[in-house]
Symmetry: C2
């Protein structure tokens, strides 16, 4: 079994810093399984319109994440719409997202200090 403290494999950790597309797909899935189109909408919502993904970016990103085993397609039949394909985070996927969020926090703190200093003139 794997723990939240396990180090990420090199081919995963080198994705940090995550691209916006990867980050938002993982983030959208962090609150539970979703299908592609819902991930797209969740991304627009989570970013308050500051980042939008077209279908090309969305589906190619999902495919890549599945190949890396960061995201898993769930077979669980949920809901009426037969077109939908549901995805969820793998343990590794979650740990990657967690690592990115921690990184963002430390970068933000440093950056905010620098930028604030200059704002004051």
């Amino acid at each position: 079994m794997s723990s939240a403290a396990d180090p990420l494999p090199e081919n995963v950790s080198r994705l940090v810093p995550l691209t916006p597309a990867v980050f938002y797909v993982l983030l959208a899935l962090s609150s539970g399984a979703r299908h592609g189109y819902a991930i797209m909408q969740e991304t627009t919502s989570l970013s308050e319109g500051g980042f939008t993904m077209g279908p090309a970016t969305l589906y190619s990103t999902i495919q890549r994440l599945v190949e890396l085993d960061l995201v898993v397609e769930t077979r669980a039949d949920r809901g009426a719409d037969s077109r939908r394909r549901y995805y969820e985070l793998s343990g590794t996927g979650f740990r990657l997202l967690d690592a990115e969020v921690k990184r963002m926090n430390s970068v933000f703190k440093r950056a905010a200090r620098l930028v604030q200093r200059r704002s004051e003139g």
Copy 2:
């Protein structure tokens, strides 16, 4: 004259979210003028080794930022080393960095909440 509250031109604001290379170049320059090589070292330092730029990324990024007028080459005080070319942030460059930092903060807050929730199981 331009104020910190002026909206960014569309060809600038669409750079948000910034790529890591652009972000770190702007951030390194936020505390004052620097030459290319120093930006490279500052980036490694600011990111605690989490992000490193090779010369190809560095100089092509600087060139792009100069063309966009986000960064300006300064003629002033080259110091001892005649090879060095110094750059500084333009007002627009600073406002872009500021916008990115604000965005990071709001994204981080949302993300941390979601990720924390799942961590707790």
